[in-house]
Symmetry: C2
Subunit: 203 residues, 2 copies
């Protein structure tokens, strides 16, 4: 099992090595990786030794090898089919963003309660009615639900997702969701980031 | 100075007490606050004692008092004028979202490099050309810049913001920004959240 704080840093190492891969660089140094994760290079080397990723002193880590290793550890090698609920301002931005595909996210359908949106194609996927969620999820092996509905609808939607067999929820609504122990919930609270920024600004 | 891990939890306590305030509840318990921050109630009581916020055993904390106390500690009592750069999918969702106002964010203008967008009103604010950024920021006392441009433009925009006197940057582009020590940068990397979710799903 990966230690909790190492796990938090891995996506930043991955982002950095992916940027080097796109620029067709051969090596990435622990200093480059340290800057991306805002830690010191010793911490980088210590984290990566856990996965037997070895760098060459003074040169760095081979980019394709480290990239593949991090994809394996982060579980990005397999794709995860997902559905998105709530095709509003934020939901639409996520649907149309190509940046999550390289993390293995494949959003195959979206759902909304607004009859005006149902039947439209947004981000090249069809918008279905929220009533159809249970039997569409059952038919396709959907593991992940992305919740971008208003706070007051979020718990209802989460319960519907869990009832349809979803194993994980990526929640953007600023409320705590009650789900059974076997379901993983990842909360994104952008306002928490803002509050921390303002606290440091006020200091 | 507030300990780092306490500071991370405060926005979740604030979100919880704000929801209670809107529902006109009189008290909020440490159990309620604990659920919002996904910690145990002992941790909540220990955090809040640091700010001399005292609860009544078995009843909880008075909602208006705790709300005001957290606003003070998080620096939310004063407003921070901000500008947003990059009025694309994500930028537009942020501009049109009322949820950040209660954290004291006041986005007064937005900027973009796309001539088609310049002069339009999005989220009830005018979109200016990126060329006009330096002298508009100087004229108004802007403290915060929100960066929602593509990765390859993010460093250029950050340098422009710092050169215009901005003190803090809220960065949504998945790259590390190089800024002088006196400028605070808060990075939001939504993909990092996704990678962590998928890691736990793969376990
Ligand atoms: N816009 C942002 O920048 C931003 C930032 C932080 C957090 N959030 C959070 O993300 C969520 C979405 O925000 P938004 O700005 O996109 O809101 P929005 O109002 O633009 O979109 C919400 C969508 O959800 C749909 N919806 C409502 N109830 C539903 C239900 N029961 N089932 C299915 N669909 C339903 C609506 O029809 C609408 O299309 C909110 O919880 C908000 O607090 C948004
Ligand atoms: N859409 C999402 O859900 C999402 C999720 C995570 C991260 N991000 C990140 O947020 C940023 C914005 O993403 P998006 O999906 O909104 O992209 P987008 O392409 O829809 O919008 C980018 C905007 O920036 C403007 N721009 C480009 N260069 C500029 C410059 N030099 N000065 C001023 N404006 C400039 C463009 O004209 C455009 O309006 C990207 O860095 C992206 O990686 C987006």
């Amino acid at each position: 099992k990966v230690p909790k704080f190492t796990l938090k840093r891995l996506p930043y190492y991955y982002r950095c090595v992916h940027n080097f891969f796109e620029r067709e660089e051969e090596y990435v140094s622990s200093e480059d990786l340290a800057k991306a994760a805002q830690v010191n290079p010793v911490q980088v080397r210590r984290d990566l030794t856990l996965f037997k990723a070895m760098g060459i002193p003074g040169v760095g880590y081979r980019v394709p090898v480290l990239k593949s290793k991090l994809e394996e550890v982060l579980g990005l090698k397999s794709t995860n089919e997902a559905v998105l609920i709530g095709v509003g301002k934020l939901g639409r931005a996520i649907l149309e963003y190509p940046g999550f595909e390289r993390y293995g996210l494949n959003i195959i359908a979206s759902f909304d309660a607004d009859p005006v949106l149902v039947g439209k194609r947004i981000g090249n996927r069809e918008v279905f009615s929220i009533q159809e969620l249970p039997h569409i999820i059952n038919r396709l092996n959907i593991k992940v639900g992305i919740v971008t509905v208003p706070s007051q609808a979020a718990q209802y939607v989460a319960t519907l997702l869990v009832g349809s067999g979803v194993k994980a929820i990526w929640n953007f609504a600023p409320v705590s969701l009650e789900v059974p122990k076997h379901v993983i919930v990842r909360n994104e609270d952008l306002a928490a980031g803002l509050a921390t920024l303002f606290h440091h600004l006020a200091d």
